[in-house]
């Protein structure tokens, strides 16, 4: 069975469903906007928040991703469609990749709107390299979606359902959060040379995190999705 066709079919299905209902993307975007308002109220007095702008950004993205991750499995579970997927000859890891890539697309789409908005609303600038900034965001997204898809598959099958996800996802994503924040901050502040060192380490950590967890999810997904 051609894996590519199956993975593409899963992604396409999720995109079509989302374009129709717009449940996920709209709620995620609204959530980010609300967080920005909260930030504004909290840091109103400060003129320049560029020192910790990265941190604020990733807190917003991390919490928003929870919304998206939960939704992506709710439909499968509610209408027992997961059973339909499991009955088909698709390899379980392919289900993972399909779901994970779908989540990645949605998260990135929301960020595509949110980041420029954020920069504009708080008078920030990206003093460092923009391609590097985008790369860092993408690497972090991959990490979030990898660990998030694995964990949301687990959480949707428990009594607490989507309420469990924050409890297990947030601690496990701490290395991601830290690395993403360090990198983003440094790039936005235009740090160079010695000062940029931590960001290099952080990017390596992001890469390591992504690779390790993609492999781990590939190996373990069978156990969380079947019975």
């Amino acid at each position: 069975m051609p894996a590519g066709r199956q993975i593409a079919a899963i992604i396409k299905k999720d995109i079509i469903a989302e374009l129709r209902t717009k449940e996920m993307v709209v709620s995620m975007l609204l959530f980010i906007l609300l967080i920005m308002v909260a930030f504004r109220s909290a840091f109103g007095e400060l003129g320049d928040i560029s020192d910790f702008a990265g941190g604020l950004l990733w807190i917003a993205f991390l919490f928003t991703s929870l919304l998206g991750l939960n939704r992506s499995f709710v439909h499968e579970k509610d209408e027992s469609c997961l059973e339909g997927l499991l009955l088909s000859p698709v390899d379980r890891p392919n289900i993972f990749f399909g779901k994970m890539l779908g989540n990645l697309i949605f998260l990135s789409a929301v960020e595509l709107v949110a980041i420029p908005l954020y920069i504009a609303l708080f008078n920030l600038t990206i003093k460092g390299s923009i391609p590097l900034f985008i790369a860092a965001v993408l690497l972090s997204n991959i990490g979030i979606c990898t660990i998030g898809t694995l964990l949301s598959t687990i959480s949707i099958n428990t009594k607490l359902r989507d309420m469990l996800l924050p409890l297990i996802f947030l601690p496990l994503s701490s290395p991601l959060l830290i690395a993403a924040v360090v990198t983003t901050n440094k790039i936005m502040n235009g740090a160079a040379g010695q000062a940029f060192e931590p960001a290099v380490g952080a990017i390596k950590l992001l890469l390591a995190y992504d690779i390790i967890f993609l492999l781990l999810a590939y190996a373990l997904y069978d156990f969380v999705i079947g019975e």
């Binding site: 687990i154 009594k159 469990l164 601690p171 496990l172 950590l205 390790i212 373990l220 969380v224």
Partner: protein, 227 residues
């Protein structure tokens, strides 16, 4: 099994007490750079063995988890649970002794010292383990999800430790296991304490494993005859 556990408990307990005795009575007082004696360093003889044991227990939890996934034998699930519990309790002790040390040394209850912070996040991760277990009723799912989670958490631990060190301008590392630079008598106290801790905790693990097995047996009998 019972005899072995009792033996281990006694051996471990004895070694621990000896180690503590050595630490307080035989090992010389540690002296800091200014030549002032620091009594609070003594906590090192307890704190480090506890932290090493905790990490080892988490690794064991992951190993037993993996064995369960391969083998499907519930006893590996019980062993994994016991190991994670030991790791968690000992981890709490790490935090607690760390807090006491910080208070004694600097007069504050908490600093964002890398190791303490890493352990804090680790505790949050494993707290999620217990929430996960309690939110699944069906036994095979509970065991499967816990096994996967224990593996993911254990892999995440070193990544977290690296990540914390990336944060610039965090408090310098204090709790280092670089105890190799110790004098002979200090080293002796440390090693005795360490081995005592390991043996003692193995006994605790086996005890907990037995308890869990008995509990399952009891549940089964209740269902069969209780009605």
């Amino acid at each position: 099994m019972k005899k072995a556990i009792t033996a281990l408990l006694f051996a471990g307990g004895a070694l621990l007490l000896t180690g503590l005795a050595l630490a307080f009575l035989v090992a010389p007082m540690a002296v800091n750079q200014k030549g002032v004696e620091i009594f609070s360093q003594k906590i090192f003889y307890f704190h480090v063995p506890v932290s090493e044991t905790s990490l080892l227990a988490f690794v064991l939890g992951a190993v037993f988890g993996a064995m369960f996934l391969v083998n499907k034998n519930p006893k590996y699930d019980f062993l994994s649970l016991a190991a994670v519990e030991i790791g968690f309790v000992f981890g709490l002790l790490v935090e607690w002794t760390g807090v006491i040390w910080t208070r004694a040394e600097w007069g504050v209850w908490w600093t964002w010292e890398p190791r303490l912070t890493s352990y804090f996040i680790l505790m949050l991760m494993y707290a999620g383990y217990f929430v996960l277990r309690s939110s699944v009723n069906e036994e095979s799912a509970k065991a499967r999800f816990s096994a996967v989670y224990s593996i993911v958490a254990a892999v995440n631990a070193p990544l977290t430790f690296f990540a914390i060190r990336l944060i610039p301008s965090v408090h310098p590392v204090v709790f280092d296991s670089s105890g190799a630079h110790m004098e002979a008598s200090m080293l002796a106290a440390f090693l005795v304490s360490m081995s005592g801790m390991l043996i003692f905790s193995t006994a605790l693990l086996l005890l907990r494993y037995q308890l869990q097995t008995a509990r399952e047996e009891l549940d089964y009998l209740k269902n069969e005859f209780g009605g």
